[in-house]
Amino acid sequence: MIRYLLPLTLFLGLTVLFIYGLQNDPRYIPSPLINEPAPEFDLPTLHQPKSSIKLNDLKGSVSLINVWASWCAACRIEHPILNDAVEKYSLNLYGLNYKDNRSDALVWLNALGNPYVESAFDEKGVIGINYGVYGVPETFVLDKKGIIRYKHVGPIDKKKFNDTIMPLVKKLEKEE
Protein backbone atom coordinates (compact mmCIF):
# COMPACT_ATOMS: atom_id res chain seq x y z
CA MET A 1 0.00 0.00 0.00
CA ILE A 2 2.87 2.34 0.88
CA ARG A 3 4.29 2.44 -2.58
CA TYR A 4 1.00 3.63 -4.04
CA LEU A 5 1.09 6.56 -1.70
CA LEU A 6 4.65 7.42 -2.63
CA PRO A 7 3.82 9.56 -5.69
CA LEU A 8 1.25 11.49 -3.68
CA THR A 9 3.73 12.13 -0.88
CA LEU A 10 6.35 13.35 -3.31
CA PHE A 11 3.81 15.63 -4.89
CA LEU A 12 2.74 17.06 -1.56
CA GLY A 13 6.38 17.75 -0.74
CA LEU A 14 6.75 19.62 -3.98
CA THR A 15 3.61 21.63 -3.30
CA VAL A 16 4.86 22.71 0.11
CA LEU A 17 8.14 23.74 -1.47
CA PHE A 18 6.33 25.84 -4.04
CA ILE A 19 4.11 27.51 -1.45
CA TYR A 20 7.28 28.59 0.26
CA GLY A 21 8.78 29.65 -3.05
CA LEU A 22 5.81 31.84 -3.91
CA GLN A 23 6.40 33.96 -0.86
CA ASN A 24 9.94 34.70 -1.91
CA ASP A 25 11.30 37.22 -4.28
CA PRO A 26 13.37 35.23 -6.79
CA ARG A 27 15.33 38.37 -7.62
CA TYR A 28 16.55 38.93 -4.09
CA ILE A 29 20.21 38.01 -3.78
CA PRO A 30 21.56 37.84 -0.23
CA SER A 31 24.90 39.55 0.16
CA PRO A 32 27.87 37.52 1.37
CA LEU A 33 29.29 40.68 2.87
CA ILE A 34 26.82 40.90 5.73
CA ASN A 35 28.71 40.81 9.03
CA GLU A 36 31.98 41.08 7.15
CA PRO A 37 34.27 44.09 7.29
CA ALA A 38 33.41 46.56 4.57
CA PRO A 39 35.90 46.43 1.67
CA GLU A 40 38.57 49.09 1.88
CA PHE A 41 38.51 51.95 -0.56
CA ASP A 42 40.45 55.11 -1.24
CA LEU A 43 38.66 57.19 -3.83
CA PRO A 44 38.65 60.82 -4.93
CA THR A 45 35.63 62.74 -3.67
CA LEU A 46 32.99 63.85 -6.10
CA HIS A 47 33.20 67.54 -5.29
CA GLN A 48 36.97 67.83 -4.83
CA PRO A 49 38.92 65.58 -7.19
CA LYS A 50 42.14 66.31 -5.31
CA SER A 51 40.78 65.17 -1.95
CA SER A 52 40.19 61.58 -1.17
CA ILE A 53 37.88 59.62 1.03
CA LYS A 54 38.74 56.30 2.65
CA LEU A 55 36.80 53.66 4.53
CA ASN A 56 38.62 54.69 7.70
CA ASP A 57 36.85 58.04 7.56
CA LEU A 58 33.59 56.26 8.16
CA LYS A 59 34.72 54.21 11.12
CA GLY A 60 33.93 55.35 14.59
CA SER A 61 30.27 55.99 14.00
CA VAL A 62 27.37 54.23 12.42
CA SER A 63 27.24 55.14 8.74
CA LEU A 64 25.31 54.42 5.60
CA ILE A 65 26.71 54.12 2.11
CA ASN A 66 24.28 54.81 -0.69
CA VAL A 67 25.32 53.75 -4.18
CA TRP A 68 23.85 56.16 -6.72
CA ALA A 69 24.29 57.60 -10.21
CA SER A 70 22.80 60.39 -12.26
CA TRP A 71 21.75 57.93 -14.98
CA CYS A 72 19.77 55.84 -12.51
CA ALA A 73 16.03 56.50 -12.65
CA ALA A 74 15.18 54.75 -9.38
CA CYS A 75 17.77 56.84 -7.51
CA ARG A 76 15.69 59.83 -8.41
CA ILE A 77 12.69 58.29 -6.71
CA GLU A 78 14.55 57.34 -3.56
CA HIS A 79 16.42 60.62 -3.20
CA PRO A 80 13.74 62.70 -1.45
CA ILE A 81 13.46 60.00 1.20
CA LEU A 82 17.19 60.18 1.78
CA ASN A 83 17.04 63.95 2.00
CA ASP A 84 14.27 63.79 4.58
CA ALA A 85 15.92 61.07 6.60
CA VAL A 86 19.23 62.88 6.88
CA GLU A 87 17.49 66.06 7.93
CA LYS A 88 15.33 64.36 10.51
CA TYR A 89 17.82 61.96 12.03
CA SER A 90 21.16 63.54 11.13
CA LEU A 91 22.53 60.32 9.68
CA ASN A 92 26.06 59.74 8.49
CA LEU A 93 25.08 59.17 4.90
CA TYR A 94 27.91 58.74 2.42
CA GLY A 95 27.44 58.41 -1.30
CA LEU A 96 29.24 56.12 -3.73
CA ASN A 97 28.83 57.70 -7.12
CA TYR A 98 28.94 54.65 -9.36
CA LYS A 99 30.18 54.67 -12.97
CA ASP A 100 29.10 58.22 -13.50
CA ASN A 101 30.23 61.37 -15.23
CA ARG A 102 31.46 63.95 -12.72
CA SER A 103 29.65 66.94 -14.12
CA ASP A 104 26.41 65.03 -14.65
CA ALA A 105 26.58 63.83 -11.06
CA LEU A 106 27.18 67.31 -9.66
CA VAL A 107 24.34 68.77 -11.69
CA TRP A 108 22.08 65.98 -10.44
CA LEU A 109 22.93 66.66 -6.82
CA ASN A 110 22.43 70.37 -7.25
CA ALA A 111 18.99 69.80 -8.66
CA LEU A 112 17.80 67.12 -6.25
CA GLY A 113 19.65 68.01 -3.09
CA ASN A 114 22.79 66.60 -1.49
CA PRO A 115 22.13 64.60 1.68
CA TYR A 116 25.59 63.02 1.66
CA VAL A 117 28.37 63.93 4.05
CA GLU A 118 30.59 63.20 1.09
CA SER A 119 30.32 61.23 -2.13
CA ALA A 120 33.13 59.01 -3.34
CA PHE A 121 33.67 59.01 -7.09
CA ASP A 122 33.91 55.44 -8.33
CA GLU A 123 34.28 56.12 -12.01
CA LYS A 124 35.16 52.62 -13.18
CA GLY A 125 32.91 50.83 -10.74
CA VAL A 126 35.78 48.83 -9.26
CA ILE A 127 34.77 49.58 -5.68
CA GLY A 128 31.21 48.83 -6.64
CA ILE A 129 32.26 45.34 -7.67
CA ASN A 130 34.07 44.91 -4.37
CA TYR A 131 30.84 45.76 -2.60
CA GLY A 132 28.91 43.33 -4.76
CA VAL A 133 26.85 46.07 -6.37
CA TYR A 134 24.59 44.78 -9.13
CA GLY A 135 21.55 47.04 -9.15
CA VAL A 136 21.72 50.74 -8.46
CA PRO A 137 20.62 52.17 -6.04
CA GLU A 138 21.95 50.09 -3.18
CA THR A 139 22.36 51.05 0.45
CA PHE A 140 24.70 49.60 3.05
CA VAL A 141 24.51 50.08 6.80
CA LEU A 142 27.91 49.92 8.54
CA ASP A 143 28.49 49.76 12.27
CA LYS A 144 31.11 51.73 14.18
CA LYS A 145 33.81 49.18 13.40
CA GLY A 146 33.15 49.38 9.68
CA ILE A 147 31.38 46.04 9.46
CA ILE A 148 28.52 45.76 7.01
CA ARG A 149 25.42 44.88 8.95
CA TYR A 150 22.72 45.33 6.32
CA LYS A 151 22.33 45.78 2.59
CA HIS A 152 19.31 46.98 0.69
CA VAL A 153 19.07 46.63 -3.09
CA GLY A 154 16.79 48.96 -4.99
CA PRO A 155 15.23 52.25 -3.97
CA ILE A 156 14.37 52.64 -0.31
CA ASP A 157 10.80 53.52 0.45
CA LYS A 158 9.54 55.21 3.58
CA LYS A 159 8.22 52.02 5.06
CA LYS A 160 11.49 50.15 4.63
CA PHE A 161 13.34 53.04 6.15
CA ASN A 162 11.14 53.39 9.18
CA ASP A 163 10.63 49.71 9.83
CA THR A 164 14.05 48.27 9.11
CA ILE A 165 16.82 50.76 8.61
CA MET A 166 16.21 53.31 11.34
CA PRO A 167 15.73 50.74 14.09
CA LEU A 168 18.95 49.03 13.00
CA VAL A 169 20.85 52.31 13.03
CA LYS A 170 19.60 53.06 16.51
CA LYS A 171 20.58 49.62 17.73
CA LEU A 172 24.05 49.93 16.24
CA GLU A 173 24.55 53.30 17.84
CA LYS A 174 24.13 51.73 21.23
CA GLU A 175 26.88 49.21 20.45
CA GLU A 176 30.47 49.88 21.41
Binding site: R27, I29, P30, S31, P32, L33, C72, A73, A74, R76, I77, K99, G125, I129, N130, Y131, G132, Y134, G135, V136, G154, P155, D157
Partner: protein, 134 residues
Protein backbone atom coordinates in the same frame (compact mmCIF):
# COMPACT_ATOMS: atom_id res chain seq x y z
CA UNK B 1 0.17 53.37 -5.25
CA UNK B 2 1.53 55.57 -8.00
CA UNK B 3 4.94 55.58 -6.31
CA UNK B 4 4.89 51.79 -6.10
CA UNK B 5 4.05 51.52 -9.76
CA UNK B 6 6.81 53.93 -10.71
CA UNK B 7 9.29 52.08 -8.57
CA UNK B 8 8.42 48.80 -10.21
CA UNK B 9 8.74 50.46 -13.57
CA UNK B 10 12.06 51.94 -12.58
CA UNK B 11 13.35 48.62 -11.34
CA UNK B 12 12.36 47.19 -14.66
CA UNK B 13 14.28 49.92 -16.38
CA UNK B 14 17.38 49.23 -14.34
CA UNK B 15 17.21 45.50 -14.32
CA UNK B 16 16.40 44.98 -17.96
CA UNK B 17 19.40 44.53 -20.22
CA UNK B 18 20.03 46.25 -23.52
CA UNK B 19 19.40 49.71 -22.19
CA UNK B 20 22.78 51.24 -22.87
CA UNK B 21 25.11 50.60 -25.74
CA UNK B 22 27.76 48.34 -24.41
CA UNK B 23 31.40 48.30 -25.27
CA UNK B 24 31.75 45.01 -27.07
CA UNK B 25 35.47 45.15 -27.74
CA UNK B 26 36.74 41.61 -28.37
CA UNK B 27 39.25 40.44 -25.79
CA UNK B 28 42.80 39.80 -26.86
CA UNK B 29 44.92 37.10 -25.38
CA UNK B 30 48.42 36.17 -26.42
CA UNK B 31 48.03 32.75 -24.97
CA UNK B 32 45.59 30.24 -26.53
CA UNK B 33 45.24 28.40 -23.27
CA UNK B 34 44.27 31.60 -21.46
CA UNK B 35 41.78 32.38 -24.15
CA UNK B 36 40.12 28.97 -23.74
CA UNK B 37 39.95 29.49 -19.98
CA UNK B 38 38.35 32.89 -20.43
CA UNK B 39 35.60 31.63 -22.71
CA UNK B 40 34.88 28.73 -20.42
CA UNK B 41 34.81 30.87 -17.30
CA UNK B 42 32.40 33.47 -18.61
CA UNK B 43 29.93 30.69 -19.40
CA UNK B 44 30.06 29.54 -15.80
CA UNK B 45 29.18 32.88 -14.21
CA UNK B 46 25.70 34.30 -13.96
CA UNK B 47 24.89 37.82 -15.02
CA UNK B 48 23.13 39.17 -11.94
CA UNK B 49 21.31 41.90 -13.74
CA UNK B 50 19.70 39.66 -16.33
CA UNK B 51 17.01 37.04 -16.13
CA UNK B 52 19.19 33.94 -16.24
CA UNK B 53 21.95 34.68 -18.73
CA UNK B 54 25.62 33.94 -18.37
CA UNK B 55 28.32 36.61 -18.57
CA UNK B 56 29.06 35.28 -22.05
CA UNK B 57 25.54 35.86 -23.29
CA UNK B 58 24.71 39.14 -21.60
CA UNK B 59 25.00 42.71 -22.86
CA UNK B 60 24.46 44.36 -19.50
CA UNK B 61 27.06 46.86 -18.28
CA UNK B 62 27.76 44.85 -15.15
CA UNK B 63 28.39 41.76 -17.31
CA UNK B 64 30.89 43.76 -19.34
CA UNK B 65 32.65 44.95 -16.19
CA UNK B 66 32.86 41.43 -14.80
CA UNK B 67 34.11 40.03 -18.10
CA UNK B 68 36.79 42.71 -18.04
CA UNK B 69 37.60 41.77 -14.46
CA UNK B 70 37.97 38.10 -15.38
CA UNK B 71 40.09 39.04 -18.39
CA UNK B 72 42.46 41.05 -16.22
CA UNK B 73 42.67 38.34 -13.61
CA UNK B 74 43.53 35.67 -16.17
CA UNK B 75 46.24 37.88 -17.59
CA UNK B 76 47.70 38.39 -14.11
CA UNK B 77 48.02 34.61 -13.85
CA UNK B 78 45.24 34.02 -11.33
CA UNK B 79 43.85 30.50 -11.29
CA UNK B 80 40.26 29.66 -12.12
CA UNK B 81 39.55 28.97 -8.48
CA UNK B 82 40.95 32.32 -7.42
CA UNK B 83 38.80 34.09 -9.98
CA UNK B 84 35.65 32.27 -8.96
CA UNK B 85 36.40 32.84 -5.28
CA UNK B 86 36.80 36.54 -6.00
CA UNK B 87 33.31 36.64 -7.48
CA UNK B 88 31.70 34.45 -4.84
CA UNK B 89 33.20 36.56 -2.06
CA UNK B 90 31.40 39.57 -3.47
CA UNK B 91 28.22 38.16 -4.92
CA UNK B 92 27.69 34.88 -3.18
CA UNK B 93 27.29 31.33 -4.49
CA UNK B 94 24.36 32.47 -6.60
CA UNK B 95 26.75 33.82 -9.19
CA UNK B 96 28.09 30.36 -10.07
CA UNK B 97 26.17 28.29 -12.56
CA UNK B 98 28.06 25.20 -11.49
CA UNK B 99 27.01 24.71 -7.87
CA UNK B 100 30.05 24.18 -5.65
CA UNK B 101 30.40 20.76 -4.09
CA UNK B 102 29.78 21.17 -0.39
CA UNK B 103 27.65 19.50 2.22
CA UNK B 104 24.61 21.51 1.11
CA UNK B 105 24.93 20.24 -2.42
CA UNK B 106 25.80 16.60 -1.85
CA UNK B 107 22.19 15.67 -2.53
CA UNK B 108 22.34 17.64 -5.75
CA UNK B 109 25.54 16.14 -7.10
CA UNK B 110 25.20 12.60 -5.82
CA UNK B 111 21.43 12.30 -5.68
CA UNK B 112 20.82 11.45 -9.32
CA UNK B 113 23.41 8.68 -9.29
CA UNK B 114 22.05 7.39 -6.02
CA UNK B 115 18.54 7.35 -7.42
CA UNK B 116 19.78 5.66 -10.58
CA UNK B 117 21.52 2.91 -8.66
CA UNK B 118 18.61 2.31 -6.30
CA UNK B 119 16.19 2.32 -9.23
CA UNK B 120 18.10 -0.23 -11.26
CA UNK B 121 18.69 -2.50 -8.29
CA UNK B 122 15.08 -2.41 -7.11
CA UNK B 123 13.84 -3.05 -10.63
CA UNK B 124 16.14 -6.03 -10.84
CA UNK B 125 14.81 -7.48 -7.60
CA UNK B 126 11.24 -6.77 -8.57
CA UNK B 127 11.61 -8.58 -11.89
CA UNK B 128 13.36 -11.52 -10.30
CA UNK B 129 10.58 -11.82 -7.75
CA UNK B 130 7.72 -11.76 -10.20
CA UNK B 131 9.59 -14.04 -12.60
CA UNK B 132 9.51 -16.78 -10.01
CA UNK B 133 5.76 -16.39 -9.49
CA UNK B 134 3.55 -18.70 -11.45
Amino acid sequence: MKIKYTIILALFVIFSPNISYSNDEPVRFNDDHQEKRYYKLIEEVRCLVCQNQSLADSNAPLAQDLREQIFQMIKSKKTNNEILDFLVHRYGDFVLYRPPLKKDTWLLWFGPFLILTIAIISTFFFIKKQASNK
